[in-house]
Symmetry: C2
Subunit: 219 residues, 2 copies
Amino acid sequence: MAGLTAPLLGLEKKSLREQALAALRTAITSGELEPGRHLVETELSEMLQISRGTLREALRQLEQEGLLSAGPRGRLSVRHLDEKEIRDIFAVRAALESLAARTLCELPDRQHVTQSLHKAIDAMSATADGTLEERIESDLEFHRTLCRLTGNETLLHSWQSLEGSIRMSIMFAGREKGVSNMSVDRHRDIVAAIDTGDAALVRKTILEHMDTAAATLVS
Amino acid sequence: MAGLTAPLLGLEKKSLREQALAALRTAITSGELEPGRHLVETELSEMLQISRGTLREALRQLEQEGLLSAGPRGRLSVRHLDEKEIRDIFAVRAALESLAARTLCELPDRQHVTQSLHKAIDAMSATADGTLEERIESDLEFHRTLCRLTGNETLLHSWQSLEGSIRMSIMFAGREKGVSNMSVDRHRDIVAAIDTGDAALVRKTILEHMDTAAATLVS
DNA sequence: CGACGTACGACTGTAAACAGTCGACTTACA
DNA sequence: TGTAAGTCGACTGTTTACAGTCGTACGTCG
């Protein structure tokens, strides 16, 4: 019975709160709920067919993820990201992923690490001709894997807290700029650097990658 | 009428949710709610004299801050930190504060920055003979200020998301180890490094500071 | 004409009630 | 005696209802 993970676990029904959370995240990053838009609880709750109480729990979570900003009297609106904020987000992201990469260098079996990362890169190649959304997702998947492989749960959690903001940055700034910034080769460079085990090189590679990405979005 | 900020804003009553949040944070970090303890919503809500709905919103927030961990069926318990997790937390903290310090180096007016930081250090000196809690608070206040002064809201937010975990680490691991790790001098070194504007030096100083702190807690 | 007041509408804050699920304990039966 | 079915209690998930607050539009009085 061991090793039968995913398929059987399909029975576990996600709570409405989680479903609402996912739906709202998607709605926001897809632009269906445009930045600056005021969110009215009663409206949303009947759109999503859930009660306000349940909705509010999801909203709190989104608020803390930085996708929503609170105005006076608890008034929520979709966060608007200006160029400075995007730069700031990517600076934090760079710091986190830099830590991740450095940590991976010091791991005993880099074998498994680079193998997993190559798999993620292959997934990116597969979506290279897909929609913007698909390419963004596989790109983020790579970077999330980078953090997960460190085994540092706190690091992964911090990164995921930022993930929504990152996705928003790319989607909005990227729509006009015609982002092609998610090159597969760049990611191979990162893995190669990790493979060498040279922490300084890895750090440098990641920081450059982030700088490039951020510059593409705001320039 | 301009410039009359703080005193007049005293009227703003915090919502019950925020009060509950603060109360629970305190209860957890003070050890009143010991690690591993199961939290029962109905119990807490009547302890705090608030409804479950309001409480649940606060719990979601604490969950995301990493102070609570979710078991099966949404069962919440106070998170227990082992030594690896403490090291992981401090690694992320180091990455964030390293970014903060580096950013401060590149700021136009380091005058104002170092001035504010010296003020925070003075506050630390003032509580040097106080209780463990007081010293921890003034220590965290210094590091929070470090992040705030960068002007990078995302950085500050990420750091604050970690703050509860940091406080927990110090309180629990520190209780037995008799933490004296919050030396005022160490912090002066950091400010001095920032004052030089040498990013590499600053980074090194911060990382050493974090290493020392983490080592004190887990060794 | 302008300042003040007032009634109404729109939302959020908060509370209380209902429903479903899991575990523990008990009981019946082989 | 051991095992399976059944019942009870304890929680969480979710919904519905109520209260309070702020803005707005309109009306009144100076």
